[in-house]
């Protein structure tokens, strides 16, 4: 006979569950509305989604957080980075979802399920970042990923199906790695909670054979997250998936899943680094350096802007991965600062692609956004060209645009940690990357437009909501110098309210 479990209601601390519940409840509301009345316009669902996300944001920022703030049978952990990353995820989602209000009709947005899935995905990410329990992290990760696969496939084209299936298979493989890694850690420590795993490992550190198990577990988990963060050599799926997904989703994928995966990586790998498992640190640095270099070189030869941006996001992820290896407070601050700023620039760049998206491939038999499409854009639509050039310069790390501040903060953290050579490698990689961003600028400003391209073709998909989002992205990208200090302040407070590696 099982013992009855006695837990007081207060100990459940149900308020920690509120943010996820709001997202899930919101998704259900959208499904209910569809049940009652059909053929409603997508604008209704978009606005509802935004409102639900705003409520969610309010609930998240209102949470009490702390390094040991636990809830719901102690599986949820509302520490600083949990709240911080949820805020970033929600803000990014609020900014990306209005991109579905295009002037042309796209298949996926006519289904309310799209928006419900979108909200479920966000709930998944929220679970993933606010737990130190490997099972819950896994559940969150899979909820989010499965929704994301479906969202990609909804973009009813052959290469979207291909992308979704590719992403799904690769994701399944990563899930396999993750479970095996967790199993190994469970075998060592008899627990799935990171804090207890850390204690157990540090106690058994000198037992014979334990080190091999630790390395096995860490290696398997590293492989799983290398898949999710698209690090070399597990990055090959990313460009195809970005190409197959619609531009807003591709932009979304380059930010939100990455933030979530970085938060979990911080929790897991900085624990190992704290435990003096140097192999993990070396391995991460090697992965980061190879990732940024190889993908930068690959990006140089792309003919399609979206594929180029895909490779560039991988390279940016490699750049940020360095911070995980450093495992200092400053580096962790850098990760969030980088993504908070990168988010707006990438939002803008992908919106520009979305604005110019056609239903049929009018410019190239294989690509939607070949460089030729943007040739001579300064003559056809000067504002568009200047805005796109701003985003490219920002991505290249030209000051004072947003990504530059993230870059120098991370490079500075690298210098502080004593890895001067690594900072130089990061700098040189930014210089290589400048070439492919410049290539687009050269096409837009210095080439003649091909005769059959006019404003109507490039501005095909434009609408007021898209322009609003674009304007927002421009303002943040240009004026970021004034936002860096409050951001660093906020992120720092959150990082201080977090225990790493315990």
């Amino acid at each position: 006979m099982l013992e009855p479990v006695n837990i007081s209601f207060e100990a459940l601390n149900l308020s920690t569950l509120m943010p996820m519940l709001i997202a899930i409840g919101g998704g259900l509301i959208i499904l209910l509305i569809d049940l009652v009345k059909e053929n409603l316009h997508k604008s209704l669902y978009v606005m509802l989604t935004i409102l639900i996300l705003l409520v969610d944001l309010g609930a998240t920022t209102g949470l009490t957080y702390g390094a040991t703030e636990k809830g719901f049978f102690d599986v949820l952990l509302m520490d600083g980075i949990a709240v911080l990353s949820q805020v970033l995820i929600l803000v990014a989602s609020i900014l990306f979802i209005p991109l579905s209000l295009t002037s042309k009709r796209f298949h996926e947005y006519s289904y309310p399920e799209f928006f419900a899935l979108f909200l479920f995905m966000i709930a998944g990410f929220q679970f993933m970042v606010s737990s130190d329990n490997l099972i819950l992290i896994f559940v969150g990760l899979e909820t989010a990923s499965l929704s994301l696969y479906t969202l990609i496939a909804l973009h009813n084209r052959n290469n979207s199906f291909e992308a979704a299936v590719k992403y799904f298979t690769m994701g399944a493989l990563a899930a396999g790695f993750f479970t095996m890694g967790s199993a190994v850690l469970y075998g060592i420590s008899g627990s799935l909670e990171l804090g207890q795993i850390a204690t157990a490992i540090s106690e058994r550190m000198n037992d014979s054979g334990v080190m091999i198990l630790v390395l096995g577990g860490a290696g398997l988990l590293l492989a799983a997250f290398a898949f999710k963060l698209s690090l070399f050599p597990f990055h090959t799926w990313a460009p195809d998936v970005y190409e197959g997904a619609s531009a807003p989703l591709a932009g979304y994928m380059s930010v939100v899943p990455k933030i979530a995966a970085f938060v979990v990586s911080m929790r897991i790998f900085e624990m190992f680094i704290e435990l003096q498992v140097h192999w993990v640190q070396t391995m991460i640095i090697v992965l980061a350096v190879i990732t940024m270099t190889i993908t930068n070189l690959m990006a140089l030869v792309q003919e399609d802007v979206k594929r180029m941006l895909a490779y560039s996001s991988i390279s940016h992820a490699g750049f940020v991965m360095v911070a995980i290896a450093l495992a200092t407070d400053k580096a962790n601050t850098g990760v969030f600062l980088y993504y908070a700023l990168f988010m707006f620039t990438n939002l803008g760049a992908f919106t520009m692609l979305w604005v110019s998206r056609h239903k049929d491939r009018v410019h190239h038999s294989r690509f939607d956004h070949p460089y030729e499409k943007f040739a001579g854009m300064i003559k056809i639509m000067p504002m568009g060209a200047i805005v796109m050039a701003l985003f490219m310069l920002s991505l290249a790390g030209v000051p004072p645009f947003s990504v530059f501040w993230g870059k120098i903060y991370l490079m500075s953290a690298t210098v502080d940690a004593g890895y001067l050579w690594l900072a130089v490698v990061m700098g040189l990689n930014s210089a290589i990357a400048a070439y492919y961003y410049l290539k687009l600028i050269v096409y837009m400003f210095l080439k003649e437009p091909s005769s059959d391209i006019n404003q109507k073709i490039v501005y095909y998909n434009v609408s007021k909501p898209l322009l609003t989002i674009l304007g927002f992205a421009v303002i943040v990208t240009v004026a970021s110098i004034f936002m860096v200090n409050p951001l660093i302040d906020y992120i720092n407070t959150m990082i201080q309210a977090t225990n790493f590696g315990i």
């Binding site: 210098v415 040189l428 930014s430 210089a431 410049l438 400003f445 210095l446 200090n485 660093i488």
Partner: protein
């Protein structure tokens, strides 16, 4: 008006934004008006400048990112004052010289105004990150100017220019970040203010590595041999206005960086690196002078001779005494005026004939006497004829460098003679003798627009050649202060001995 420096920096940028609205037929007049106001403001700064104060004046400081020690911090001293005035002057004259039928005139004016902001910003800012910000930002309008109005290979030249400089300065950025880190470990505060860095003591190993990082940024910009390969491309493809600004102002950012950053922050490393820099500079002077001699294209001759003279400036910077350093700063100004004027003159003849190849010309002096006279004056200034602006700087640099190395001085001095040979050959082939090309008979002499742009430069060449004191005085004050700081900061006795502040002390 205490915020005159901020006005100087941001006025052109604001005008650039508003310039988008101005009608394209009025754009040039708008540009001239804005650039004139900027020049008047900079002259006013000179008028208000306290000549006896060697330190930073008109300082402003606003914290931007206090968490990370970044603040908007500007100030002007004798070293930067005249470079700023020169930048404003060259921009104005360059805009005046633009032909009225330049295509996309509005884009050109807007780019030039943004470029002016970055140039003035680089020379006035005292915060390393803001310096870096303007430094990198200056690449963007220049990329567009070369790429949109340049010659046949303009895109290649523009991208090469951008990437070369960008790569070098990212390594420099690592150096800047390390400096901030070292400052943080020493004092517990984050600061990117170079005035704070001046007070920081560093070991010789630290100085060595940071010097190398700074060197990679500055040397590419100067451009030092062997990093000069981007420059002939850029000059060869750039439109006249691009070459003028590139040679007159943008290259000075590199030498200015050495003066403002490398010398006072890293005195020991600077002295230790002097033989290395000296060797590179002398190779640069001699090699590019010989290359210039072999060119057939008039613009390339001037481009290479401009690089050659940058070598003389580098020698002066690393002479570590008041004559050499002061002379090299004066030479930066005169190089800006003279090479700017020479590129303008080549542009003038290119607009008329569509060619820059010297063999196409001959006997131009009889067809275009005024043009030939102005060209002659600038040529003489370029080779350093006494009583022209070029002589003062070169003489002081060689005098200063004589204390460091006799052989180096002789080698560099000889090159000035080689320099005069190729310049005179250029002049002889193109301007004297019979008219070889019948097509050239109908060429018109300088018109009013071109004269407006060139006459002020001729006047400055003669004025400062005869009476350089108003400019040399403030420069000398600030240079002596800088050298005193260096000597105080230096840790090894050899460095202290190498730095000579005034002649009395040397004896």
């Amino acid at each position: 008006m205490d915020s005159i420096l901020s006005i100087l920096i941001f006025f052109p940028a604001l005008a650039g934004f508003l310039g988008f609205v101005v009608d394209k037929h009025s754009a040039k007049v708008y540009g001239v008006a804005v650039a004139s106001i900027e020049l008047i403001l900079s002259l006013w700064l000179w008028a208000k400048f306290d000549l006896s104060n060697a330190g930073m004046q008109f300082s402003e400081k606003v914290d931007l990112i206090p968490q990370f020690g970044i603040s908007y911090n500007v100030g002007v001293d004798g070293i930067s004052l005249f470079i700023v005035i020169m930048a404003a002057l060259i921009t104005l004259l360059g805009i005046i010289l633009l032909r009225d039928d330049t295509k996309k005139m509005k884009n050109m004016i807007v780019s030039l105004l943004f470029l002016e902001m970055t140039m003035v910003g680089v020379f006035l800012t005292l915060d390393a990150i803001i310096f870096y910000l303007f430094w990198e930002l200056s690449l963007v309008p220049m990329l567009y100017i070369i790429g949109a109005w340049g010659g046949a290979d303009r895109v290649y030249a523009a991208v090469k220019f951008f990437l070369y400089t960008f790569a070098g300065s990212l390594i420099m950025l690592v150096g800047l970040l390390s400096m901030a880190y070292l400052y943080h470990t020493a004092t517990g505060n984050w600061s990117f203010s170079i005035l704070d860095w001046y007070t920081l003591e560093l070991t010789e190993t630290q100085q060595f590595w940071i010097f190398l990082a700074f060197f990679s940024g500055f040397a590419i910009k100067v451009p030092m041999f062997p990093f000069h390969t981007w420059l002939p491309w850029a000059h060869g493809q750039a439109p006249t206005i691009g070459s003028v600004i590139l040679a007159a102002v943008l290259l000075k950012m590199g030498t200015y960086g050495f003066v403002r950053f490398s010398l006072p922050i890293l005195p020991d490393a600077s002295v230790a690196f002097t033989p290395f820099i000296m060797t590179l500079s002398i190779i640069m002077i001699i090699y590019t002078a010989m290359v210039a001699f072999a060119q057939k294209d008039m613009k390339q001759v001037i481009a290479y001779s401009s690089v050659s003279h940058m070598g003389v400036i580098m020698l002066g910077v690393f002479a570590m005494n008041a004559e050499g350093l002061g002379g090299s700063i004066f030479l930066m100004l005169s190089h800006g005026i003279v090479s700017g004027a020479l590129f303008m003159l080549v542009g003038v003849i290119y607009e008329r004939t569509g060619t820059k190849v010297m063999s196409e010309f001959g006997g131009l002096a009889s067809i275009m006497p005024v043009y030939a006279t102005i060209f002659g004056v600038m040529l003489m200034a370029s080779v350093g004829l006494p009583l022209t602006i070029g002589f003062v700087g070169e003489f002081l640099v060689l005098l200063g460098f004589y204390h460091v190395s006799t052989i180096g001085t002789i080698l560099a001095g000889t090159t000035i003679i080689i320099g005069s040979v190729y310049m005179l050959v250029l002049f002889k082939r193109s301007f004297f003798g019979p008219v070889t090309n019948e097509k050239n008979r109908g060429l018109k002499d300088l018109d009013r627009r071109e004269l407006t742009a060139l006459i002020p430069l001729v006047m400055i060449v003669v004025w400062l050649g005869v009476y350089p004191k108003p400019v040399l005085g403030p420069i000398d004050n600030s240079v002596k202060l800088l050298l005193t700081q260096m000597e105080k900061k230096a840790i090894s006795t050899e460095t202290k001995e190498a730095i000579v502040i005034s002649k009395k002390e040397a004896k």
